[in-house]
């Protein structure tokens, strides 16, 4: 089992879109796949039309009253399950702080699922917090969507620093360029000279209205626009991530 976290400190840059589409592609190939929507806003749950509600909430999970297995929901797609978001996740940070070994709690919760799934995608909320610390520790790979702008690159440095500070192996950070617009000169420049100190994938996701339409269809892009530029980009991205994961 491989745990793949989609993470960035910045919001609104395509983390959830990546988690949902990559998980769908993995499942479509036959891999047993799970998405855990850790963001209390529940965007991933929304895309899968699953109510953002977990019985007994995050407390139930942290106290062991409920296991993750109890709260898994099947999606509309073969081989693809989801653990929905819950409103209580907005306090997850504080709740984690109260338990023992607070930084490896999520890892521990996921452990029993190891034999059930080939891939577990964590859709993380945008923040630097105990939740993100947990996911960074639990993950085998941390996918960081990055918009090719100077400011975003600085954020990327922040993440690497954050890892170093916590003694987390920062080589598991994998970046790809998200919402890329080839007409923008700056985007092009940055893509042509990517940062050297982290791994940047060749595949990138263009700025495309089909990604936005996910909110209308409430489906992964390959389901309603299988031949679109965006779907192809996500396929290429998944191929490259798989090769890195091996």
């Amino acid at each position: 089992m491989k745990i793949v976290a989609c993470y960035n400190v910045k919001g609104g840059i395509g983390k959830t879109a990546a988690a949902v589409n990559l998980a769908f592609l993995a499942a479509h190939e036959g891999a047993r796949t799970l998405v855990w929507d850790l963001d209390p806003q529940g965007a991933a749950s929304f895309y899968f039309r699953i109510k953002p509600k977990v019985k007994k909430g995050s407390k139930g999970l942290l106290t062991g009253k409920k296991t993750l297995e109890d709260v898994v929901k099947g999606t509309d797609y073969p081989n693809l399950d989801l653990i929905p978001a819950d409103f209580s996740y907005r306090n997850l940070d504080l709740q984690l702080d109260e338990v023992k070994k607070s930084d490896t709690r999520i890892q521990k919760l996921l452990k029993p699922l190891a034999s059930e799934y080939d891939f577990i995608f964590l859709d993380c909320p945008p923040s630097i917090s105990l939740v993100s610390e947990n996911t960074l520790i639990a993950a085998d790979a941390v996918i960081v969507p990055t918009i090719p702008t100077t400011l975003s690159l600085r954020t990327l440095d922040q993440i690497v620093e954050f890892c170093n500070k916590l003694n987390i192996d920062h080589t598991k950070i994998i970046t790809f360029f998200s919402m890329m617009d080839n007409r923008k000169k700056l985007h092009k420049q940055i893509v042509e000279n990517p940062p050297q100190h982290v791994r940047v994938l060749d595949a990138s996701i263009p700025y495309a209205s089909d990604v936005e339409r996910m909110g209308v269809y409430r489906q992964p892009v390959p389901v309603f626009a299988g031949n679109s530029r965006a779907a192809k980009a996500y396929r290429a991205l998944w191929e490259e991530i798989k090769s890195v994961l091996h």
């Binding site: 036959g30 039309r49 399950d81 080939d118």
Partner: protein, 542 residues
Amino acid sequence: MKSLHSAQFIVSQSIDSDAIFTLLQHEFSLHETDHTRLKCHYLDTFDWRMYQKNYVCSWYQTANKRAKNREGIFFIHEKETGNSICELPLSRVPKFSKDINHQAYRSMLDNILGIRALMTVAVLTVKRRQLIILDEEHKTLALLQLEQYTIDESADDDQPAGRLIVCPVRGYPKVFKRVVQLVTEQLKLPHSREALLDEVLTVTGKRPDTCKLTGFQELESSFSTWEAVRILLQHLFSVMQANEYGLREAIDTEFLHDYRVAVRRIRSILGQIKHVFPDKLLAYFKREFSWLGTVTTPTRDLDMYLLKFDGYIQALPDDLQQHLEMFRLFLQRHWKIEHARLCRALDSKRYQKLTSEWQKILANADMPLQREMSTGSQAQETCNAAEPARIVARQRIWKLYKRILKEGGSITPQSHDEDLHELRKSCKKFRYLIEFFQDYYVGKSMKQLLKTLKQLQDNLGDFQDLCVQIEQLNGFAEQMQQEGLADTKTIMAMGVLVERLNERKTALRAEFRRQFESFIQPEKKAVFVEALRVQQHEGVTE
């Protein structure tokens, strides 16, 4: 990923999807899809390995020629529960476990199939209509599939009954329960009692009765030697015939292997159970079955090299590995030639004559006795035929045991490889005889003796294989040079390979003594003697 228990109901022709729709629409929001037509290929090995492990393997593809998505889907289900274990897109019907990309499923299949191939055991056309139960967000909560089946090769009136399959979605158990309740109580549909595959196999008359190929018919203790031998030979001959198709089609390498084992066992009976056939006939059959052994050997040898090939590559240092590929090419090329030659032999008049003569002989319930034994010498030739099989076999087994003790005991570190080969052959004959006549002797203690014998045989067998491989590899290298297939690197790689094999051979040779000692332990011998209950006075002419 947890597999969920679906519910399957038998549906009579008169019920259509409308009735189900009407029933459920009061409580649920429904979406109904059009009919789809699917081709379902049920897959299993020749010896039904999936079925025996209680799995159903299938490959589905849309039967609609104009469909955009023609990609197939490979399934593994649990036979009894119908639970789905695996659902994978796959463009072609898979043959070997290596055709499955998904690592966990590949190794699961690998454990079950080994080197055996999946074959299509039945083809079914499925007409399916889906009824999807949705919540207010249009999320699927449960799935109903109404299916009608046509077995391609069967008559219209002899088809499996249709089914209604209710599939749960994880995390929505209440919906599933309610649907099942409604269908059971309101529509009064009966639960299906057996797996669809079983129903299909009943209709097609194909049954995985594997005992036909593995076990022998029980030998009664009153049987004469001819009666017993005839049953054994008939069985072995049917194994040969059952494997002929697969070896001609080269479905997998086990067909040829099993065919050859049957031939070898027949030869063993002809050679070991003496004075049953008239001399002239015996000489003919011995010669012809020996010929069959010979014509099948080159293909089997090449099969073996190809099966071991990945192991060969791994035995080499990294930089030489790629240079062995030419050797694989060479083997594949020669395999084709030899296999064609083998098929020609099986098409020959000589083979036809052998099979018809053989069937003629075996058809006769008491052939050797019915013949008027006009001369004394002919009576002598078949003098064991009417004797009790129990006694004749026992004496021969005892004799072979003594031979093994003698041959094995005289082997020293200085002995020639040939001496080990002789011992290997004696062990094989010994084992075959014990297996043939196990009804007479085999008890728990005998099983233990057979276990240590097996270890000894593995040692000797591997040793023999290595001797042959080492010799042949040198020959192949030469041949490849002549065929212009080998550069210096390839020859070098093969040289290193021979070295590795030689090392293994030496190790096996060193191991032999320990295996043999374990086989001849006094307490094991006592057990064996007891099992055979050898009574020297039960004299029968050898």
